[in-house]
């Protein structure tokens, strides 16, 4: 088992979930999403977010609009589509379920903690 690989896989899934979660509050700019992910120590390098946003958009989970900015060129503001909201609901459920399962296993095997 490659620990680094497992960690990367875990982080990837959680990152996708959290991005949707951040966007559920309404339109957000990529840099604001990054700020939030960084505060939560979920993102290591910023470059990760951009392909992820584009892929979620192509999967129909996100949509964006251009908005004028005072500091430069227009910016892309993302938000969830209906499909994205459904996906987020699904992931919320799945996350609760998963954390419960993990907790159950961990408390049962406290010797390992």
């Amino acid at each position: 088992m490659n620990i680094e690989n497992v960690k990367a896989q875990m982080r990837k899934g959680v990152l996708e979930y959290c991005t949707l979660s951040i966007l559920s509050k309404g339109y957000a700019y990529a840099s604001d999403i990054i700020k939030e992910l960084k505060n939560a120590e979920l993102i290591v390098v910023e470059g990760t977010l951009y392909p992820l946003l584009t892929r979620q958009k192509n999967a129909g989970l996100l949509t964006y609009k251009w908005e004028e900015s005072t500091q430069g060129p227009p910016r892309k503001y993302y938000k969830l589509t209906e499909k994205g909201e459904a996906a987020l609901n699904e992931l919320n459920k799945s996350w609760n379920y998963l954390t419960q399962s993990v907790e159950k296993i961990r408390t049962k095997n406290t010797g390992n903690l």
Binding site: S31, E46, Y50, P51, T54, P73
Partner: protein, 206 residues
């Protein structure tokens, strides 16, 4: 003394010294190289470039000079292209890629009902020999025109070759060893296939 270059990134203008420019250019090229073959690679690249411009602007303002230090800091923040994503492709292709299947290890002949026209005889043959089933289809059609021979042979093969029903059989048909991870993969594909089929049927009904 250092020469500075005036560059233009996503609507921002910066002065950058020559060494810094070389490093930045090399790094951006690697990103563009990584995404150039993707349909939305350009969009991803532009978004990243935009962020770079923003970070420069935060660091040196519109008229400042970007030096090697700033470029290195930004590359550290953004990361190397190989760290952006895991390189396994998120593409889920349902159609079997016949040309890819070169290894004949543990391969067995089954009818492939997921890619069938009539009963999956030809797609099964295609899987087995690792070539496009269209070739077999053409041969059978040719046989049909010439003397009706093709029909008879097809029916015999239809009866003689079992269809791939279980996951293990489907793996054997594709020449993949029957391991847990392969079975898991195949189950996932199976679910997607059933889902898609169901959606199509539902769409037709509407």
């Amino acid at each position: 003394m250092k020469k500075t270059i005036r560059i233009h990134i996503s609507g921002f203008i910066f002065n950058i010294d020559e060494d810094a420019y070389k490093i930045l250019d090399k790094w951006l090229n690697r990103i563009s190289e990584k995404y150039k073959n993707e349909e939305d690679g350009e969009e991803i690249f532009n978004d990243i470039e935009m962020r770079v411009a923003e970070l420069f602007e935060e660091k040196v303002g519109n008229e400042g000079v970007v030096t090697q230090k700033e470029v290195e800091e930004i590359i550290k923040t953004m990361g190397q292209p190989e760290d952006f994503e895991n390189d396994e492709e998120p593409v889920t292709e349902n159609k079997t890629d016949y040309s890819k299947k070169k290894s004949r290890k543990q391969r067995r002949l089954y009818r492939d009902e997921e890619n069938k026209i009539i009963a999956g005889v030809c797609s099964g043959l295609g899987n087995y020999f690792g070539i496009d089933p269209v070739i077999f289809r053409l041969l059978f059609v040719a046989g049909l025109i010439i003397g009706g021979f093709g029909t008879l042979l097809y029916i015999i093969l239809w009866i003689a070759i079992p269809k791939a029903e279980t996951i293990a059989q489907k793996l054997e048909m594709n020449g993949e060893p029957v391991t847990i991870s392969n079975i898991e993969k195949a189950i996932k594909e199976e679910i997607d296939w059933v889902k898609e089929k169901w959606f199509r049927r539902k769409k037709r009904r509407n």
